[in-house]
């Protein structure tokens, strides 16, 4: 059902965990739907220097979370903002159709984390 790439990321998820002093945190989904993920980012000079995730969900949810951390790491924020759900799925060699909607939330979580960082920055400037 899953590609070898998905299984690889499921078996050995990259960047699992939390960043206690994260600059931005984004959470999407909810346990009722069966998928929920949180992305933590550390930002230096508008660049993501560290990223970690926590995920409750199926194999696709775990693999997309892991993949987004690889795609976003070291990227400038504006580029990271442009990573789409489809980019994540493509990088994993595709996802089963039913998973495209329900479990492919990692890009949204990353975007939320960046927005959270930007909001905090604006708060600090005031």
């Amino acid at each position: 059902m899953y590609t070898e790439k998905v299984m690889d990321h499921f078996r050995n998820p990259r960047n699992v965990g939390e960043i206690p002093d994260a600059d931005g945190v984004g959470t999407v989904g909810n346990p009722v739907c069966g998928d929920m993920m949180t992305i933590f980012i550390k930002v230096k000079e508008n660049r993501i220097v560290d990223i970690k995730f926590k995920t409750f969900g199926c194999g696709a949810a775990v693999a997309t979370s892991s993949m987004i951390t690889e795609l976003a790491k070291e990227k400038p924020l504006d580029e990271a903002m442009k990573i789409t759900r489809n980019d994540v799925a493509d990088s994993l060699g595709g996802l089963p159709p039913i998973k495209m909607h329900c479990s492919n939330l990692a890009a949204d979580a990353l975007h939320e984390a960046i927005k959270d960082f930007e909001k905090k920055m604006r708060g600090n400037k005031k």
């Binding site: 199926c58 194999g59 039913i98």
Partner: protein, 394 residues
Amino acid sequence: MKKIYMDHTAGMPVDSRVIDAMKPYFNTTYGNPSSLHSFAQEARKGLDNAREKIAELIGAEKREEIFFTSGATESNNWAIRGLAARAKDKGKHIITTSIEHMSVINVCKHMIKKGFKVSFLPVDKYGVVDLEALKQELTNDTILVSIMYANGEIGTIEPIKEISEIVHTRNACLHVDATAAIGMVKLDVQKKGIDLLTVSSNDMYGPKGIGALYIKKGTPLEPLIFGGGQERGFRSGTENLPGIAGMGKAAELMKNELEEEKNKLIRLRDKFIKVLLETIPYSFLNGHPSKRLPNNVAVRFSFIEGESMLLNLEMAGVSASSGSACTAKTLEPSHVLRAIGLKHEEAHGSLLFTLGKQNSENDVDYVLGLMPDIVKRLRAMSPLTPKELKGSVH
């Protein structure tokens, strides 16, 4: 890697003695039982013999009360639609439960479109049908009550005798879907007061694609499939003799071996459940603790999701099942797990192991050895896990 199969509710291996019993009907005894020649006579003997064995297994009075179908789904369709078609002048009310198989639930939904009223009875937190609700719903307009013997997803066995007594205080018929129970519990249609019984072949180590409907003598039922008048006009279509012979053999073996098999399974099941719940915090049993199918280990774990547990088990060579949305064709968690009152997130954390003949205590021990690490690993990854449970991810 060793492969361990623990998904017997979804599909069972065919017993090799059953395969042997089927073989002659492919290219030796291949006559059409409706013909007159000797090839046909032999085929007819096989047909009667299989019918007899199934009648014996379920305690039917006569073998003529057994009708072969293409499987449990057809039997369930036929029982409900066939009876409704005959009894519609008497009443237009059907009662069933909220935990039936989709081949009952979706037929009932279809009957609503056809102008029937259908009541879906609630169950308690163990999945036992609410008998008071049954009493309240039953009216003179009720023509049929359809309730499963046992639920394969949570293992709960229903109080069929009590249900039958209540149903027969009125003029309604009782249909029982025995698919999950047939290979696991001793059935007796006469003692239990059952009018229509769905029997599956694959669920007792017989081949797939064959099943039967027990129709108690005198129960009004319109055919679902018309044609050449096989099965005394009630189910047309040339008989699937290899399947029928296989199902007959499976029934014969089941009758002789059920008791021993059952005791072995209960021992494995009880150890499985006990150790799992003891070794893993925040783990719970789904379904009834004692009124339970001998092979059913339905459990749930908080803070994690079923499919990711299944994938981890599969990586270690173990095939099991889950009631989780993500493994199904729909996104909704199982209707059965919702009916016993589980929240969505609880239902998502469910796992189902269903044991069978070839499972040994070693198999159970192997899975018991795997599960704590799998749960720990996924909980370490989950944002829902409470602080005190968090361990390191490896």
